[in-house]
Structures are given as C-alpha cells and as structure tokens.
C-alpha cells in the first residue's frame, strides 16, 4: 500500500493543482458559452509542441514549452477576435475550426516522424502518472500568479469588456493550458476544466460555492480515477477522464432529487429506464431478424450471465458441439499457459532451454492458439446457425417484450383505437 501511495501521491498533488485552476476557468468558459475554447487552445499548444518535436526538441523541455506557449498566445489573439466575428457565425463554430485545423496540422507535421503515433497519443492522454513534485513546484507559482491576476481584475474579466481584456483572459488561459496539456494531455485537461465547473454550476449560483463544489468533486474524482487506474492496471489519463464522465452522470441523476422533486424525478428516471431497456430490446430484435449471424451483444450478454439460456434454442447436438468446443478451447488455453509457464520457469529458475526447444515451444504455442481460435470459431458458428434458424420467432418475442416494458399508456391507446 505504501508503494501505491508513493506512486500515486505526486500525480494526485498535480491533479489537485490542475483542478484548482481549471475549475475556475471552467466556470468562466461556461458563463461565456465557449465550452470548447479549452480544446482549441490545448490543441494549438499541442501543435506548438509538435513543431518543437519535429525540430528535434525533447517533449519535456523549456524550448518546447516556449513553442507551445507562443502558439497558445497566437491562438488567444484569434480567440479574442472571434467574439467580434461571432455576430453572424456562432463563436463556438470558429473555435471548432481552430481546433480541427490545429489537430490536422499536428497530424500532417508528425505523420512521417518515427514515434509519431506515440506522440499523438501523448498529446491526447498525457502522462500524469509520471508527473512529480517538480511539476508541482513549476505550476503552483504560475497558477497562483494567474489566479491572483484574475482576482484583481475580476471586474474586467466578464467577457463583455474591451477586446484587450478578452485577450488577457485568453492569454492567461492559454498559459495555463499550455502547461497542463504538457502534463495531463488534451482530454484530461478538458475534463478538469468542464466537469468540476459543470457540477459546481449545477448545484450553486455564487462563484465561491460553485468553485468549492467543483474543487471538491474534482479532487475526489481525481483520487478515485488514479486509484482505479492503479488497481485495474489501466492507462491513467483515460481512466481519469472516464471517472470524471461517470461523476458528471451521477451528479446529473442526483440533480432532480436535490431540486426537491424526488417523485417526479423517480417517475422520469423510471420511464427513461423502461424506454431505454425497451429500445435496446427492440434494437436487438431488429438486429437478430436482419443479421442473425452478426454480433448480438444483448443476447451474448444474457447467455454469458445465464448459460442455460442457450438450451432454449440450441438443439441437443448443437449444445453438445458447443460444449465440446468450449472445453477444448479451454484445454488449448491451459496447454499454452503451461508451456509459457514452463519456458518462464526454465529461464528464471533453472537451465535455460536451447534455441531449438524455445522455437519448438513457440510453434506449439502458435498451434494451440490456432486451435483455440478454431474451437471459438465453432462455438460462434454453431450459435450463429441456431440463431439464424430462430431469428423470426425470437425477434418477435423480443419485440413483444420491448412493447410490454415500454411505458406506453396501452389503455388510452386502445381506447383511441376503438
């Protein structure tokens, strides 16, 4: 546990700092209704980093940061002017254009570079897990200075004043985003910006309360996301983004209850759930009727959870073939696992196998893999053929079930029909 804490505590501190400043900027962009300005700024900063990368500068380097910041400031100028252009064309449209052009330019730049794909992934998801106290030492003064500046100039930063103040807003925002994208990547920075702010705005009206709620939600979600990525051995940035998405969904569901209309909320939630399930059932019915051999996620899931369901539509011979293939697929998996284990043990505990034996084991592993794939193919084929046979009756049954579940006022419908 102490190792986990030692690993996760520095990135957690970084996340706290990022949540601190981004939640504030998030509330500002929500108020200005320029939600995707962060993505645009982050992508332009990433374009600057890509230019530096192509010029041979390392990813985490002062020169690279300079390129990113310069590009972000240029974008800030553009963004400040989009407010005036936005009289006929919505400002969000122009922001979107800046984002896609910056993203496309970055792809063009690094398309032929070695490790280009890895660089793109790094831009998107960052690598917050490897950030440390050094990063905290760098960003805290910057964020503190920008926070102080905004507190001092809060009357001018309303988004309705002269363009110069608008430029100051976007420039400072750009400076924050440039540093945070280098640490956490475009996706996570957008989550830090919008989701805590959205939760704050949902449950409070004053800036102070919005900030407090956003900070608490952001910090708790960051901790949960980091812990989940560690426990489940998942990519940290992507896990945290999903955690933020989940928290927003929970907040959204909780919101009607908080507003003091629990019965209405429950009624709406129940109806939504029934419509949702009915829609999934109906879609599955259509999918089964139209393409019985294609993937049937709902039926697959049901059979995975309740295997005896298969006996409803597989003939005894098909059941036997399915079961036999399943047993053999497992047998080949176990054989391959044993071979891998043997090779590992000889390598680490005893005398290493000679080259021929290793190659022989490798050949067997391939054969076992192939045979397992073959058995899985048989399982799939047996099931697909049986589903093809029962497609119409099963689809009708699913449709009927969907209609029963859907919250349709059947009596009224019937009365009108009569």
């Amino acid at each position: 546990m102490s190792d986990a804490l030692a690993l996760l505590f520095p990135p957690f501190l970084v996340a706290v700092c990022l949540v601190g400043i981004h939640a504030y900027f998030g509330i500002q962009v929500l108020a200005r209704k320029v939600i995707f300005v962060d993505l645009a700024l982050a992508q332009v900063a990433a374009l600057g980093a890509s230019v530096a990368f192509m010029l041979g500068h390392p990813a985490q380097n002062f020169t690279t940061y300079g390129y990113s910041l310069a590009f972000a400031l240029l974008a800030a100028v553009l963004l400040a002017f989009t407010r005036t252009w936005g009289t006929r064309v919505p400002q969000e449209a122009l922001i979107g254009v800046i984002y896609v052009v910056a993203a496309a330019a970055a792809i063009l730049l690094i398309d032929r570079a070695p490790q280009g794909a890895e660089h793109l992934k790094q831009i998107l998801t960052g690598n917050i897990l490897t950030s440390g106290l050094g990063d905290v030492a760098l960003i805290v003064p910057l964020y503190a200075a920008i926070g102080l500046l905004h507190w001092l100039l809060h009357r001018q930063m309303t988004g309705a004043g002269p363009l110069a103040w608008e430029f100051v807003f976007y420039a400072t925002f750009g400076a924050v985003v440039t540093s945070s994208v280098a640490i956490a990547g475009v996706l996570l920075v957008f989550s830090f910006l919008i989701i805590p702010a959205a939760i704050g705005v949902m449950f409070a009206s004053s800036l102070a309360r919005q900030l407090a709620i956003g900070w608490i939600a952001g910090v708790i979600t960051s901790a949960a996301g980091l812990a989940a990525s560690f426990a489940l051995d998942l990519p940290t940035g992507a896990t945290m983004v999903c955690a933020f998405g989940g928290v927003l969904a929970v907040a959204g569901m909780f919101y009607p209850f908080w507003r003091g209309e629990p019965r209405a909320a429950l009624r709406v939630a129940g109806a939504a759930a029934r419509w949702g399930v009915a829609a999934v059932l109906a879609a599955s019915a259509l999918q089964l009727a139209a393409a019985p051999r294609a993937d049937q996620p709902l039926i697959d899931l049901a059979e995975y959870l309740i295997p005896p369901l298969r006996s409803l539509y597989l003939s005894p011979a098909e059941q036997a073939a399915f079961a036999d293939a399943g047993v053999h697929a497992e047998r080949y998996r176990a054989e391959a696992e044993q071979l891998n284990d043997r090779e590992r043990r000889t390598r680490t505990e005893g005398e290493a196998l000679d080259e021929f034996s290793v190659a022989r084991i490798s050949s067997f592993l391939k054969s076992y893999g192939e045979m397992r794939k073959g058995e899985q193919f048989v399982m799939h084929e047996v099931r697909a053929r049986a589903r093809e046979r029962i497609r119409w009756s099963a689809a009708l049954g699913l449709l009927a079930f969907a209609l029963l579940l859907a919250p349709v006022p059947w009596r009224q419908v019937w009365a009108r029909l009569r």
């Binding site: 011979a317 073939a321 293939a325 047993v327 053999h328 497992e330 047998r331 998996r333 176990a334 054989e335 696992e337 044993q338 071979l339 043997r342 021929f356 190659a359 022989r360 084991i361 050949s363 067997f364 391939k366 054969s367 893999g369 192939e370 045979m371 794939k373 073959g374 058995e375 193919f377 048989v378 084929e381 047996v382 093809e388």
Partner: protein
Amino acid sequence: MGSNLFVPAALGFSGALIAGAALAQTAPPAAAPASPYPPTATIANGYPGVGPADNKLRVTTLPNGKKIHVLPATLETTQWGWFDNAQAPVLRVNSGDTIALETMMHSHNQVVPGTTIEQIKKLRTDFPGRGPHTLTGPIYIEEAQPGDVLKVTLNKIVPRAYATNFNVPGMFGQFPSVYQDGQVKYLYLDLDKMQTEFLPGIVLPLKPFPGTLAVARKEPGRYSSVPPGEFAGNMDIRDFVAGTSLYVPVHVPGALLWTGDSHAGQGNGEINLTAIETAYRELNLTVEVIKGKPLDFPRIETPKSWITMGFDQDLNNAWAQAKAQTVKFLAEQRNVPADQAEKLMAGVSDCRVSQVVNVKKGIHCLNPKNARDKEDMERPTKETAKYYVSHVKDADLNKAMNDASMGMIKLLESEKKIARLDAYGLASVAMDCRVGAVSDTEKNVHCLMPKSIWVAKR
C-alpha cells in the same frame, strides 16, 4: 477454473478415443475400462520431456489379444517439422495393434496483417529445412525390420469441427509471385452432413485423410516433413481416406510411424499450399507388418483400386516415376510383360496430380483391382454437364499443370465472380487435376471443378 475444466476435458478425450477405438474393431469390443493410468492428454503434472515411450500412455486389450493404444497429441508425443530416425518413440505397439491417436493443426500464424514477406521468410530461414507440420509419433512397431512392409489401415477418421485454408503471401503454393497477398479462411465442418460451406452457396463434401503418414527414412539425421518419398510422408493423396490401407517399405527397426497434416478434404493439386486443414479428434489406424513381400515404393489399397505414385521436384519426373510404378504394378497384377502393361495403363489407369506444393510434386494413379474394370478415364477438354473444365497441353507437364490451374482460377473469377484469393483457395480445395494423354511431345492436363458444389445460397 481453467485447470478444473482441463482435466475433465483430457479425461473425456481419452475416454472417447477408447470407446471409438473399440467400436472400430471387428472383434467384439471390450467395455472401456477405467484406466489405471493418469490422463496423458494433460500436461498439468509437469513435463517429462521428449524421451522414451511414455508408459503412462493408455492401452486396452481386446478379446482377440490385440491391443488398442490411445495416443493424445501433446508436446511429448508430437514432433515439429522433422523426420529423424534417431527420435525416441512415444509409443511401442505390436503388429496387429490399433492406435487411436490425436493430431494437431500446424500453425499459419505467420499469415497475419502487417507481417512482411521478409519476416515470413525469416521464420523459415531461421530454421532451415524445418517443415510446418506438427506430427504425432513416432510409433515403434516391435516386429518391423528393414525390408519388411508396413501396412497401415485407416479404420476411422474424426476431424474436429473447424478447418482453415490459407495462402502465404508471396511464398509457397503454385503461384507465389502472382499472389503477393495472403488470406486465411476459417471453415465450420458440419460433421453430421460431412460438408463445409467454403463460400456462400459453395458447399464442399468432406473426405478426411491424413496428408502425412510416414515411416522413418533409412538415412540418419533430421529431414523436413514437407517432401514425400519412398517413406511415404507428405503424400497429400486425397483418396487415402478411411477404409484404405497404405503399404510402405520399412527402412529402420520398428519402422517409426508418424502422422499429421490432417485434412478434411483437398483438391488434386492443392495449389495454394493448403487443403481443408484441420486436426483430428481421432485417427484410428491398425498397423501390420508384412514379411517376405518387399516393396520399393509406397502403395495404397482402396476397396476398388490400388494406388501407385511418383514424386519429384519436376512434375515430368514425378509422372515418369508414377508411370514406372504403375507399369510394374500392372505387370505383376495381370502377369503381362512391361510393354503390354504400359499400353494397358493408358486405358485403365486414372492418374491425377496429387499436389504441386510439397517441394517434390506428386502424381498418383488409381488402378482397378478387378482386371476387367477400368478407372474413371473421363478427360474433358471443355465444360460438361458435371464439370467446369480447364485443359492445357504442352510438352512440359509443369507448364501444362500451371496453365491449366491458372485457367481454372481465371474461370472462377470471370464466370463465377469469385474474388481472386477465394478462387485460388477454392481451386486448392476442390479442383481435380487429371493427367490426360501423355507423349514425349505433348502432355495433357485437365483440371475439373465439379458443378455440384454450387448449391442454393442459404
């Protein structure tokens, strides 16, 4: 969970083989007894390594005194790509015994998107001479000595329910330079109807046969499992199905029998390198040692015919060998001089191109057992009611075979609108290339594709 499932699987396999093997015997079968030995299909108890015969292998005795041995395919009981007469046997049996054995697939994992031809070549060049086959064996037959003949009768063949057909991009097969792209196709084998749907609306009958059944060579050392020879080996003769027997000369004490390259069906030619490649749940065979009747080259006995064969890197030479073997057989069978047997051959013997992809190409000839009969001598030169036909004549049999095969592929592409790699594969698994009239100046190859495989789409 895994090992819990695995042990019953192994037990189930062995039990099924014992039961199947017993049923395949003509003598009243003994009830499959509970084996006193632990299951050997599992490797959960550790790896004894490749070594002498594993005394844990299962065996049961029939009332007639003969034995049935069960030989699962594991790391310990299979060989990889080589024939080596110094290989320690994995099972010892007596003449007259039956073996119910399991076989494995050989991997085609090299045919994956993104793998370059250089990588594929490296896979081969890293282990020069190695074949791709996983072979179950060797089995030592106690009475077999050099000079004897080993008769191997295929009692029953039960494939697993899946198979593959593939071509390696830019390598192997009849047309590696034409097909720089590869394809793997998985096939579900309907073992009740004994058929498989190769493409929508194209259903092939299943006729399982072991592509490879071999005894050890005379020469010491490791030899690739790919080329066939006087030791039989990778013959890929599609008529070698259940109910037939191979007669093969023994070269070393114990004969040392291997099998693998398990097919569920194949075209005569096997032109894209592969047949309907599968693994056998059970290959049930009986071995008998025949003494005092020496044989210089393998032969196969079917219920109605004797099959003679010839192998060589040059198809012309393979034909010459097959012809020599056939003439010799007919002269013995009908007690006629060689020149008369040669004339007879043209009228009664049905010679077909077994395969052209095993380094040594193969031709086999079916010869009627009944001296008054003749084999199927149909050699159409154009489409008939039963067949699509591609016919080419040339002084070089290799060129005639190449052109006739490619002619059929093109016909499938243009007339039947089959995609090029699918056409290559279909020709490999269903085309029947027959040798027609042969003279010094003109050799005819007739490649036939049965129209019966086209059925209404489901």
